[in-house]
Amino acid sequence: MDFELSEEQTMLKDSLDRFVRENYEPAKRRALVDSNLGYSKENWALFAEMGWLGLPFSEDSGGFGGSPVETSVLMESFGAGLVLEPYLSTVLLCGKLIEAAGSETQRSEILPAVIGGEMLLALALSEPRSRFNLANVETVAASSTDGFVITGRKTVVSHAASADKLIVSCRTSGAAQDQSGISLFLVDQNVSGLSRKDYRTLDGQRASDLELAGVTVGEDALLGELGGGHAVLEAVIDQATCAICAEAVGAMQAVNEITMEYVKTRQQFGAPIGSNQVIKHRIADMHIAAEQSKSMADMAAMRVDGPPEERRLVTSAAKSKVGEAARFVGEQGIQLHGGIGMTDEYVIGHYYKRLMSIDTVFGNVDFHLRRYSEMT
């Protein structure tokens, strides 16, 4: 039993924290949020240089063979800085899907480019009626003479606009909500029949709604087995879910630090507001929430690459606990700041927004409580 970081992991954490300190002070982050792209290409190149883009891939794939623990170290630091680069969509979702399910050709064409920072990817998963259930797929890929024709709508596709390629989950057989009959396809950004509506999300990131109106792809666009996409998707999403739990932990710890500092300095009624017992207790509760979340995120990182049953359990346990804590900490961070917490200029609200997004993405508290309870 060991929750401590190894020497290598500590070095990784130090360099990540340094990156965040140097590149993610609030004014710099704001400039990125307001830029067209929504993040920094220079940062992305730096990620490649630092080896972070290759971190979770096996050495066979050209990566560094990092485990989910390394990923959680990285995401925790990113969470503390509210990092905007599309690491989740390109590396942890699409990259990992390609590593897990891709053909030799797909892997060798895409993974080195991802690891080198030259290719960006986005996962088109959710639909107007899907509500977190990966099996709820109504986008259809119908087989044609030399491939497939994809028709459907995908919503809130993270970083779709800057992606070179998309991975789209489609139904190739079965009824809505069947786990079998879901297939994954690689779709080029500029393919005809694909239209995008781009927007900024709550947390300052970028997403798009996609309309696929008879998009034609070849046989070679199929990623993994025909009709067998659900299992691999679920595994990769579970890993990514654990990763954003770690991100939330980093964000919660930052909220607590900032709030603690604020209540020590802000004076009302001739004393720091933090001298009131109710404020002390509230911050203690926020600290407890972050601590409990940290334990769950660490535990999940250590167990999420276990057998599927275990993976599902730890993921849902962690996400439900973290989601609840994230809301509480985010909301109280604002509350304890009073008026200043309600402004766009001050950083605390941005943490709240990201924490709210994390609570939603890949299933909220209810979704994961239910998933867990159905397994036990």
Partner: protein, 398 residues
Amino acid sequence: MDLSFSDEDLAFQKEVKDFMSQSLPADVHDRSDRGLHPKKEEIVRWQKILHEKGWIAPNWPVEHGGAGWSLTQKYIFNQEYFLAGAPQVTPFGISMVGPVLYTFGTQDQKDKYLSRILSSDDWWCQGYSEPGAGSDLASLSTRAVRDGDHYVVNGQKIWTSFAHYADMMFCLVRTDPDVKAQMGISFLLIDMKTPGVTVKPIIGLDLDHTLNEVFFDDVRVPVENRVGEENKGWTYAKFLLGNERNVIARVARSKYQLARLKDIARQESMNGAPLIEDADFKRKITKVEIDLMALENTELRYLSQEIAGHKLTAEPSILKIEGAQIAQAIKGLTVEALGMYAVAYEPDALTERRNDGPIGPDYAHGIMADNLYQRAATIYGGSNEIQRNIIAKLILGL
């Protein structure tokens, strides 16, 4: 004990219902329904309709333009008003400074301001909070120094809602720095066009502009613009805050938003069935519905105590805390009902510029904006922490 209304009250209820369904403009209703801040032109247009009907200020004394209703009728009006989905009447003139003026103002002040408040020709803002004086309002430091028949005002206000719309500000200033904080404050009416007044926007979490900083740089305010006595401003300020708490439970508004939540949960789906049929989600809606029912009955019980002639102390603080938390819970659940579209937030102004329609289903537009803004419900008008201190002290003697 009897929960039923008299026949006259029921007839009155119908009259209000009919008026609301006939008179509330569709565009005003739409923004209010979504929880978006009304635009100035819209809310003023609507308030003028209410004024014409004589219903803009039901709580005012009849001689100043009030409706002369019983407490029960006022309650019914308030219910029907919000159940129709109407936006709250801008409080700064009608519920805040108006009562101060007709209670403590000079005849000149009454003549000059009251009718323009009723007609919504003047927009007022509330200049209380300062960077250093929030919960501890009495520590405010905006200074007013007497110079002949003027005060010269220097200092800064912050969080001034809609100051950028305002013609006038009612403002707390320090006129005597050498006495106990509460004893050296005066209540001034400041024309926002006076030289030296600068309004700077503060963009909120919802990325909308409702808040402002207001700076005073040698602003000359005629002494006749002081309400009541010099250094007695704290009394008027507290009187005003007492009035503000009248509508603070927001039961009817929450009922309306709860109905909207259910409506959205009927349209959203969960594994092929309407979300509202999902047992977990339904239980959460039910919980908040029952919380709201409790609040409604607490409010009614206090109302009946008032009718029976009992004086309330800090009971409005109970209504404020519960009302704010329930409003937040309803919006939180509405956000949850949107699923992934909750994350797809675009501020109102951006949505208006979009030529390909808002993101996601039409009903989604406004929900996150309101959810973000509602975080302030437990901060402004006395934060939840401060309200609890008041309850502990005034009701419980702790």
